[in-house]
Symmetry: C3
Subunit: 353 residues, 3 copies
């Protein structure tokens, strides 16, 4: 029943955004429709990926889930790269990272904490993720510090960006080897698997594959329409690229995961919610961001890995407070409120830029 409603809304919103695009309803209406449509196609894509992953067997499935969990964001970003909107790409990556660590984690911890006095999760797993997150932050900070303080040439800058991107991808692949091959059993013991993973998928193997193809195509189309409206939308409302990328794009692209994490937290599975939020940030920083740099390089106009000082500050601050709050393995509503307050402060600051 619920699924039927989802599909109807998905199709209606997809159609509306398609019509507004081809009939030329104007950028604002097109923006609104395609922003809503992307919520649903991204959710559909996520479900289809999970379902295919289920049939692919544990190892390959785990890899699919881990790597294409942020497929919607990747597709949107590819269209932004194609348009040369590099600042907005980086802003949307920043927004995805801080959105996961502050908004998703904050809402999960706050709402979970209002229902349960204290929620617990495995600290060791959080520790592993924290070290990876720090590598990601270092990978993003080092080029910015070197390039700005040493006045690198464009060639040096590109070389450093590509090398760092390469190393981040290697780190990501090694992490998959570590967590799915050499230390699978150690991590499995710790993990508080989210309910979904255990459940039988709703679709047959064949349907899942067809749905995955369809969902990818729909995401690509809506992403293209959405990206096409951004220039007008941004200028009409006097918003900076930074704000639109970091708060608008990042939120619509991530909404499906957001609601999943909050649901889990309210079922007292805060560990699974933390895994989604932190895991998704890691994927963005260690996989999506470097892949985009390589994609831009292959298309002849290399996007560098230099985030702005305020983007770096936002990412650094988010990692730092998320680490501090998750260190002790217990959460309560106040910690969720703290995360959200940091998110609001950053939102206002980005808005003013």
């Amino acid at each position: 029943m619920k699924q039927k409603l989802f599909f109807i809304t998905l199709i209606v919103m997809f159609a509306l955004s398609g019509i507004s695009h081809y009939a030329g309803f104007g950028a604002i209406i097109e923006f609104i429709f395609s922003a809503i449509a992307i919520l649903f196609v991204a959710g559909f894509l996520g479900k289809a990926t999970e379902s295919v992953a289920h049939y692919a067997g544990q190892r390959l499935g785990g890899f699919l889930n881990a790597t294409f969990g942020n497929a919607a964001e990747l597709i949107i970003a590819i269209f932004l790269v194609r348009e040369g909107l590099f600042d907005m790409v980086k802003a949307s990556l920043t927004g995805a990272i801080i959105g996961n660590l502050l908004l998703v984690l904050g809402l999960s911890v706050l709402l979970g904490g209002l229902k349960f006095k204290e929620q617990r999760f495995n600290i060791q797993l959080a520790g592993h993720n924290a070290s990876l997150m720090i590598l990601a932050v270092i990978g993003l900070f080092i080029p910015a510090i070197f390039v700005t303080s040493e006045h690198f040439t464009k060639q040096q800058d590109e070389f450093l960006s590509l090398t760092v991107a390469g190393i981040l991808i290697v780190a990501y692949i090694l992490w998959l080897v570590f967590s799915m091959i050499t230390h699978k059993d150690v991590l499995a013991e710790m993990e508080e698997t989210s309910a979904d993973h255990g459940e039988e998928p709703a679709w047959s193997k064949r349907t899942s594959i067809i749905f995955l193809v369809v969902a990818t195509a729909m995401t690509a189309l809506v992403s293209e329409w959405l990206v096409g409206t951004l220039h007008t939308f941004t200028t009409d409302f006097g918003l900076s690229e930074l704000f639109v990328g970091a708060f608008v794009i990042a939120i619509v692209g991530n909404a499906a995961e957001h609601s999943a994490a909050v649901m889990l937290a309210m079922k007292n599975k805060i560990g699974a919610a933390v895994e989604i939020a932190v895991g998704s940030s890691l994927q963005i920083a260690l996989f999506v961001a470097p892949v985009l740099i390589f994609i831009s390089a292959f298309s002849g106009n290399t996007m560098d890995i230099l985030f702005t000082p305020i983007e770096l500050a936002a990412i650094g601050v988010s990692v730092f407070i998320a680490k501090s709050i998750s260190r002790d393995g217990t959460t309560n509503w106040y910690e969720g409120a703290l995360l959200l307050m940091v998110y609001i402060i950053l939102g206002i600051a980005f808005y003013l830029v």
Copy 2:
């Protein structure tokens, strides 16, 4: 006996600073007398607040203690704001934070550690406070980073300052709700209440209230005299506003708490000493600082929340080392020495500015 001596010294020093003010003894003598007098009136105000809090019942009393524990500093700062000495206000807030985290905590841990080989306290409570302290640091850093790297206008700057100040106060109020209502029992279990709280107050309810009014009035007067001398004092001795604010004002305004924390540490109640030092820093950052911004805004000349890079560095460094040292829940003399050495390094650097 001891109390009698305290009152005599209090009255004598208060009188001397009053006389030197009205008789025009010159700024240097007036500065010296009123600086000594403020030590005593601040101590008196602290005692009176505690005593009134005792009679007010647990909840309201806890709130009074938590909120007016730094009343002396707030009063001094209000006079600095009235004089438009914004740089000195921020320096004195910085000085109060680093003074608590490095000088008070350092002396307590060092002297306690010279008497007891190892002192222990509850880690979980320290963890809660650390997360709050990080929010405070973020609240102070974000505006500085955004405003300097994005060249905000004065309007944007004021708007951001007021918003962040508002969020910090909300965080503070939510913390009171968390610690005094929803999670009172959880925290109470952890807390190692300082001796004072348990003791019967020396004064009757009526005397306590009268004393609170008198102490507030005395603090306000001496603060005004002290602030009036600062310009001459600073220029005569060739000291920077930064140094006088961060080291002179901050130390005289906090002396009462300093001695209380050290006493507790030497009675092997290091947990209570840590609570005083960290709690007082939190109050400064999450309550006193934002309140001053609102006071300045209401009086028509808004003080922004932009601390200088070296003030931010000093605060960041203090929080970081205090966190690192208190992480494991045990302290020894060497850790106290480390905190004091960081304080000395900062003191010399501020002196040279």
Copy 3:
């Protein structure tokens, strides 16, 4: 047998570098020979120090080991100071710190982790070292932040540098008092002494002392030759002083310790390997660096303590990730790989400068 081979190689390499120096074989050949020779004389000096320390009794021996464990680096740096190559001195100190925290620790953890699924060590000891390391980082950061943001004069700069250097040495001496006198027993319980310390030394007391004198003399000579070639080597290969100091000098000067730590990790003594890597970094930051500043001051041309932003970033980043990885007291191959990837990123960035 193995020892005989070591001595033969030592003498041959020493002779070759001497001959290439006095016969004027050209800077490149001299550089290569003396760089290889320094690996062996530094190893010889380390062995001789350990052996003398063994005969000196526990306390004095511990002090000798702790203080002259980095004698080779100190000697090389003294020659760099004499030549006025201050930038290279600081780069080599930076390189020694990050080399220990990332390369040595990374290789130890990676290779140990490939052999053993999980290796464990005492967390409390790591915590003590972390606090000291943070003091060191603060000592190096504060002057840089103050001097750059406040435009200090050369006099102020020198005064601050010397004072901070003095405080770091005091911190180091107090640490020796703490770890060898007041809290010796507490730390001894935690320490996982490396195999070497327990073994009988191979040489008699008299031979050890003679060897120590000979090794010091050889180290001094080869250091002088090596330093003499650096200018030509650097310009011929178009390398920056920063890269040569931080990666070439630091690696050849530290090779002996590197191999010792890796050996221990592969014998599942990861705690001892961590001690060597972190202890050696601490010695560099708290003893070697400040001593060099005083040496330069006595020789009339004071080297300041101002590291460049990228050196500070490299040190800060290394301390941060090493702390994060060693926090939980267990290591695995992936954590080693992370440390090495950070080292590679820094290496590439320094190379591009």
